[in-house]
Symmetry: C2
Subunit: 110 residues, 2 copies
DNA sequence: TACCATGCTTTGACTTTCTAGGCATACTCG
DNA sequence: CGAGTATGCCTAGAAAGTCAAAGCATGGTA
């Protein structure tokens, strides 16, 4: 299928997840909601994208997870940013800034 | 392997190619050089990424190609932006701007 | 002659994301 | 009590894009 306008670009999802979790431990479903809210309804992450990403990110040691009971009395797996995750977030943000800058340079070339 | 800092994000390459070609018809090898220059040496597109992308983009009708002889007396396939390509470039730039904005919003959330 | 820069192409692997489901539990409302 | 809805996690399969690493050919130069 053709890529939809709202779709994420490969490589940005990890940064967004890490950023969302950096504001406090959160479970998967909540991450989707928080990202939607943080982006002003501009981003809608699919569950089928999020959960594999969370697994991947946890394997890399950037988040840790714990089963807990949330505020509505349901079991949910809460993810928290690790120290390595914070470093990774900073790295990814720096890379993102570089890319945005590089593309801006290309675009302003006449 | 881990993604390198300088790597492109999937989905941005088409926009960059279209932009490079929008400044005048150019062959593949030259596109790489022009993009490197336009980005202030920040972007280095691999040949193995560029040529498949050019093929894809031509299939979609966003560029047309013609074998010609370049200024150094070598045969080279020159790509030119089509009308549809210009529209596509505008669309991709708008999508890019939206994504950059959305991510900026996420990042400025405290 | 040998080499180097230019120029196009292909192959295979890899990663990420999306679509499209399935499964389970808590709560609410008729 | 029963049905529906929102919440919450997970997986399989496919699609797509990018990269690394090659190969091949030609023109100019030492």
């Amino acid at each position: 299928m053709t890529r939809q306008k709202a779709d994420l670009l490969q490589g940005t999802l990890d940064m967004l997840i890490l950023k969302a979790v950096s504001l406090g431990p959160l479970h998967g479903y909540g991450i989707i909601q928080r990202l939607r809210q943080m982006s002003g309804e501009m981003l809608e992450v699919e569950q089928g994208s999020l959960y594999p990403a969370l697994y991947r990110i946890e394997q890399k040691g950037w988040v840790s997870s714990k089963w807990e009971v949330n505020e509505t009395n349901r079991r949910a797996k809460f993810y928290a940013l690790t120290r390595a995750g914070r470093r990774q977030l900073e790295d990814e943000e720096a890379s993102w800034d570089r890319l945005v800058l590089a593309i801006a340079k290309v675009r302003q070339t006449t």
